[in-house]
Every structure is written in structure tokens, then in C-alpha cells.
Symmetry: C2
Subunit: 244 residues, 2 copies
């Protein structure tokens, strides 16, 4: 007998499948902030994995301020309110766990707030290469629409390129996080093919305003664009309480 792994699991699916099982496990227990969760050894046994795998997952959860490991004591849940990180939401989305309805609306509102200011800066600071990048993305978007593809990724590329034109790299990091955590919802939004042409037209209007160096017009265009998205989710969540 060379090695006897209980489960001869060849490839355990996703990379962070353990985190994907750990998070629901925590959530289902309705644990409060400060509560202690089972020890590493117990979690390892419960999930049928080695302690190393558990420690790796917990290290990530700790970096994302979901959990706190206290040496010689135990593992404790963090307060989500102030300590929760946006990266935790990104991870959650990557694992396929949908956001709470409330959070969806908060994310869209925040996107509107940030991106309205972003296009202002973009209109004031844009360089030649920014315009070129934006034009390229818009051209790809037109092709995608003509080909009947889902505009979700092109939409994200447009908005991120817009933020990139502000020259503020930190700004780009923040907005990027929101697009990473919203990819599935965005794909659902564009599932209805009628929305893509409207979005694209609004993108073109923004491009024009930014190119012309008109912050007010750019901001107004972005505001209208994202208020539309906001209204969509607002209505959808009011009608069907089923989460998306």
C-alpha cells in the first residue's frame, strides 16, 4: 500500500472548492460576529480533506477579513458590517453564490456614483491612446451585437476603459472589482438582446462627450445609462423575489 487517500478524488473541481463549501457551512449556521467556528482538525474531518487544505482556505478567508485565526484559541467570525472586504464579494461571485438582493442594488448605485465621476475625470484628462482604446472597444461591441453575441464582456471592457482614461489606477482597481463580481448578473441583463443596442448607443454618446472634453455631458450620459440599469434591477427584484 503506497498511499490510501480516502476519496480518490482526481481533480476536485474548482480551485477553491473547499472555500465554496466552507462559506455555506458558515452561513447556514447563522453564526454571529465573534462566534467560534469548528477547529481546523474538525473541519478537515467533516469535509473529508487534509488539514493543510483547510488551513489554505482559512488563510484566504482571513485575508478577506471573513474570519480571524487566533493562535492557541480558535477561529472566529469577523463582523461583516465594517470589516467585510469587497474582494470577499468577488470571491463569492466566483464561487457562484449570488449576492443578496439588497447588495445588488447597492452595488449598482455605487457603480453609478463612481462612474459618473470617472467619466468627468476621463473627459478632462483623456489622452490620445485612451480615445483609441475606447474606440476599439466600441468597434468590438458593434461587431458583437451584429453577431448576436452577449454584450456583457464588451460592456465591462467599455466601462473599465473609461475608468482607465481617468489615469487613476486605484480607481480602476475598485471599479474592476465590481465588474468581476457582477459578471453573471451582467450576462443575464444582456440575455435579452434588445438591451445591447441601447447600451451601445449610450456608450457612443459617452465616448463623444469624453472625446469632446465635456465633463458635464459625459457625466449626464453615464448617469442616465446607469440609472437605467439601476431601474432594471429595482423592478426585477420588486417583481420576482427570487434572487438572480
Amino acid at each position: 500500500m503506497t498511499n490510501l487517500p480516502g476519496t480518490s478524488d482526481p481533480v476536485s473541481g474548482d480551485r477553491s472548492s473547499l472555500i465554496g463549501r466552507l462559506l455555506p457551512f458558515i452561513a447556514e449556521r447563522r453564526l454571529q460576529a465573534g462566534d467560534r467556528i469548528p477547529s481546523e482538525r474538525e473541519l478537515a474531518e467533516r469535509f473529508g480533506v487534509g488539514r493543510g487544505a483547510v488551513r489554505e482556505a482559512l488563510a484566504v478567508l482571513e485575508a478577506l477579513r471573513i474570519v480571524e485565526r487566533r493562535p492557541y484559541s480558535g477561529i472566529y467570525l469577523c463582523a461583516v458590517a465594517r470589516q467585510g472586504s469587497i474582494e470577499a464579494m468577488v470571491l463569492q461571485a466566483e464561487l457562484g453564490v449570488p449576492l443578496a438582493e439588497e447588495e445588488v442594488l447597492e452595488v449598482v448605485e455605487l457603480r453609478r456614483i463612481m462612474e459618473m465621476q470617472a467619466v468627468r475625470l476621463a473627459a478632462e484628462r483623456r489622452h490620445e491612446e485612451d480615445i483609441a482604446r475606447i474606440d476599439a472597444v466600441l468597434a468590438e461591441g458593434a461587431q458583437a451585437i451584429a453577431a448576436g453575441e452577449n454584450l456583457a464582456d464588451n460592456d465591462a471592457a467599455f466601462h473599465l476603459t473609461m475608468v482607465e482614461a481617468t489615469g487613476n489606477h486605484v480607481f480602476l482597481r475598485v471599479v474592476n472589482a465590481f465588474y468581476l463580481m457582477s459578471r453573471n448578473r451582467r450576462r443575464a441583463y444582456f440575455r435579452d438582446g434588445t438591451r445591447a443596442p441601447l447600451s451601445h448607443a449610450q456608450h457612443v454618446a459617452m465616448r463623444d462627450a469624453v472625446t469632446a472634453g465635456d465633463p458635464d455631458r459625459a457625466e449626464a450620459a453615464m448617469g442616465g445609462h446607469l440609472r437605467g440599469v439601476e431601474g432594471y434591477w429595482l423592478e426585477l427584484l420588486r417583481r420576482g423575489p427570487g434572487e438572480i
Copy 2:
């Protein structure tokens, strides 16, 4: 001989000291995005730790999109530009690694953009308990000033409580990340005791505007407040190129 750990290191200092050594190691090599870094086994030997510790650190770096682990292949650096997360900047600050000068200004600019909008929302939506919380923080701030303490943490508490009053929890998460990554700089800012009274007075003005439900006045107050901070760092970085 029961166990022969090469280095009988009892407590290896900080929790994530390995990450703190790993990041400079990567940075000093001037590696580009996509480059491969040494294997887990080599890193373990080089840093004199076990492979488990290396894997734990790499799991965190991967969650923060600093690194990508490809099975059967190697560990590769991610593109910082679009993929870098804000949590990575928080971690960096926790490890004592200062931000680049450029990033400091970008962070302050972003804070101003976000918080100006935050106080608008706060003025529109604030509840009784929000006002009460803000008042409590201001009272603590007055005490801290009277006692000659560093106002840094109270300053952060005020701004975060302001964002909390928007009712948008995601907003709070984002702004909180910036305060976590800026704590050391903020303490340095308030080292000069003359700044604390001015900040406190501006905070009071904001509180008044929010309490009165006047978004425009609140926004203006926050804008002036943070432009002052922005100007401070701008001047400081222009004079002394030494990082803070």
C-alpha cells in the same frame, strides 16, 4: 531527537511574515506580468520554511490576484494594472510596505470623489441613530484633541460613520478598505497637532449639514476638507521625494 526544526523559531513575528518577505522578493526581481516565479519547493527552501507555509501565502496572493497558480506548470505573476485588487493594497499596508507616491495621491483623490457623494446620500437618508453615532464620534474626537492624542483613528471613525449613514453597506466596505490601507499615513498627517482642530471643525460642519439634510452644503464641506488633505500630500511629495 524528537523534531529538528532548522531554525528553532518560536514565534515568527507577524502572522503573515512570509507574505511580507515574499512580496519584496517578487518586487526586487522586477518581474513582469506573466513571468514565472520560483516553485513552491524552491521558495520554501529559500525562505527556510515548510512547503505548507509557502502554499498558504500563495493562496492568499492568488485570492488577491497578485499571483496565479497553474497546476503542473508553475506560479505566475498577474498583471497589476487591471487585475490588482484593493485588498492587495490593504495587505501591503498591513505589512508596513508604503504605497508608491503616485498611489497615495490617487487614493486621496478617490476618497474625495467617493466621500463627496457619500455625504450627499447621508444628508438625504440619515436616520436618528446615524446622527447619534456621528455625534458620539465627534464627542470622542473633542476629547482626543483635548487629551493631545493622535486624531487619526477618530478621523477614520468619523468618515466611516458618515458613509454608514448612506445605508449602502457596499459603499462602507470600499471606503473602509481605503482607511485600512491609509492608517499609517493618517497618523503621520495628524502628528502635527495643529491639524486636528481644523479637521474637527470641518467634521462638525459636515455633521451640521448632514443633520440639516443639506446635501449641497455637506458635499461642499467634504470637498473642502479632502482637498485640504489632498493638497497636503501633494505638497509633501513635491518637496521631499522620500516616501511616507
